[in-house]
Symmetry: C2
Subunit: 439 residues, 2 copies
Amino acid sequence: MSSQNPPQSSGNNLDPWYGNYADRTAGLAASEVRALFAVASRPEVVSLAGGMPAVSALPQELVVESMNRVMSEQGSVALQYGSGQGVPKLREQILDVMAMEGIKASADDVVVTTGSQHALELVSKLFLNPGDVVLAEGPSYVTAIVIFRSFQAETHHVAMDEYGMVPESLRENIARLKAAGRTIKFLYTIPSFQNPAGVTLSWERRLEVLQIARENNILVLEDNPYGLLHFDAPPPPALRSIEQEGVIYLGTFSKTFAPGFRVGWALAPHAIREKLILANEAAVLSPSSFSQLVISQYLDTIDWRAQVDRFRGVYKERKEAMISALAEYLPNLSWTDPAGGFYVWLTLPPYLDSKQMLPRAVKELVAYTPGTAFYADGGGRNNIRLSFCYPTPESIRIGVRRLQNVINGEIDLLETFSQTGPMSTVSDRTFSAPPPNLD
Amino acid sequence: MSSQNPPQSSGNNLDPWYGNYADRTAGLAASEVRALFAVASRPEVVSLAGGMPAVSALPQELVVESMNRVMSEQGSVALQYGSGQGVPKLREQILDVMAMEGIKASADDVVVTTGSQHALELVSKLFLNPGDVVLAEGPSYVTAIVIFRSFQAETHHVAMDEYGMVPESLRENIARLKAAGRTIKFLYTIPSFQNPAGVTLSWERRLEVLQIARENNILVLEDNPYGLLHFDAPPPPALRSIEQEGVIYLGTFSKTFAPGFRVGWALAPHAIREKLILANEAAVLSPSSFSQLVISQYLDTIDWRAQVDRFRGVYKERKEAMISALAEYLPNLSWTDPAGGFYVWLTLPPYLDSKQMLPRAVKELVAYTPGTAFYADGGGRNNIRLSFCYPTPESIRIGVRRLQNVINGEIDLLETFSQTGPMSTVSDRTFSAPPPNLD
């Protein structure tokens, strides 16, 4: 059974073209918290909401050096249109990047895209008919859910716990959907340092998830923006390192280099790769030659692995700042403790609504993303995604301290209207925090 | 009545995911001449096929200067994600560019995209349901037809003559389609220096076309990549300068600056612009900050109007080389003589098939695009699009001379198999060339 949020209206009477939009456009509604985030971008607000990488940790002289080399050595190529598949040399270099997570592949099967976001859009365009189903972790990446909805497909969520997607829930979802005659087009998953939950799919479960997908003939779409950003031990090898024909793998330079160039890629089974190139050409003719060549030059001449190490150090320090601030200011809540990536998933007391609480948070100069953004079915009401990627450790502490005020204020407010006696604030509450499971 | 080419098969038995693609993917078939073009990219081949701008006419030191300024002044912004609508300052500067073609607008209604190609994809995604109709000149831009087909819409062609789209044909098409109960979602047009025909819609017809669109409540999608590249007098003002609520205007820096950065834009009525931003975010999160800032810096600090003049001079010289070579080597054929842009549309004797002839051309080391690529309905069999934008004047002469050999060889071949007596070769034939109308 489907329990999708109803799409919002796709226009209004002030729009003379109101009646002309495609059916799919009804799924492209503006987020309700969009206006609030515009306010939250003021400098006095500590934003724990966005997912902006710490580009300040990338020495700009390295980028300038790569750019200048590109212009002096390949200027006329950099300024020109390129191929719809991407620069051949960069596709070879992408193999080296993926090899770090155990992937063996041919450069022939790599398609460079305008960020891995665009690969996700192109795969969705190739596969999704109206009414199709995509399976995804619950919670899952907000803009993936938006894309699937924009092609009139429904996202159904597979439960997660601290070891990632729960195989039993995957089996149950498949059985239920098959019994209902639904078409499952793919399983969308972020196995490592998941956005937003921060958890990582264990090795045993990777094998089991792939086995289930194989048995049920379900394509797996593995989105791996954070895999190289582990704080200590690397995550288990990528799903694509285990299974080739059944996995489309998405990667990006947005987190290991910089998002401002918009370069990501898809590694796809041969026949799908053919169609991805055609879809890429139809959408943008070719990804930016300049951006690709700058990244290729950077990978060629700079010790990029050392730079990835530097990023790891930055994010690890910020994650630790966040976890210790949570332990200090919100000791009675529960949260995930990621081993890499950008995000912590916080669980509030069940009687709090994180979206309703957001205006108060912005007033207290802290922003976060409400949990409901990451569910297609209204889940996540008492969850919050906290990002530690962009603010400094000191800002993170300040942000979490403000969040404590926000949450206590919200509890006080509920107490005022409550008929059932006083409720204590979170900093001294003794309610038993639920285990960090994420359903 | 529809007379679309049937889409080619979207997969085969070697593709384990063959049965899983969306219905729309059947429309994304590889061009039949694709493999041939790979051969045609060898340096010994004179390519009159592609539409690559003459980036060698852009002084690279100007680009390097802009890049270095961006990195020193706004490096951390350039490397980061941006907004889904685009950099505010660049959107203001785009108003100056459009003002050169008579357009008054607000930066609020500009959406920056990954080349204007992506604006075309996003508008199509927003508006096209399966079975919808798009009206477009016949011939029209090949990748526009591909996009419309990829959203399962049909392109129906409006006749053109030397003054551009024929209003009477537009009226007839609308009447016929309405009578058949079809839904026309928009009129796609390239009014100035059209691709591929090289003709320009006259001022009187601009008014008439807009009037027809208004009467029939049809949105106009004005694609204007070449408008500033006039050889002598500028073309009539843009359709968007006349009509605001009924026109989406697409522009690009690919021809006035460089395509390697992939920066274009859409100017859309307010309500549509809102949805374009959402669609843009779903597709790529944000267009490249770096690319946008480099172009913004370039517009700010370089005399870009003088550079556009330089491009005009280069293209005018190449156009003249092509026209004089055609007059010398293929005097009995007819062609259009564009007043700007990149393309000449050549009409062969009616018994020749330009697609069938292409392998011979590549063997003779000249490439062109067969006319059928620019029709959704099989038209253009005896037409050729010749591009003068990229090769030097000398190469253009050589290319056209080779084309003469190709055409004569093809006529000889037909003669050999002909039962009806000798046919003369084009260089001394006396058949009466048809007037350069383009239906």
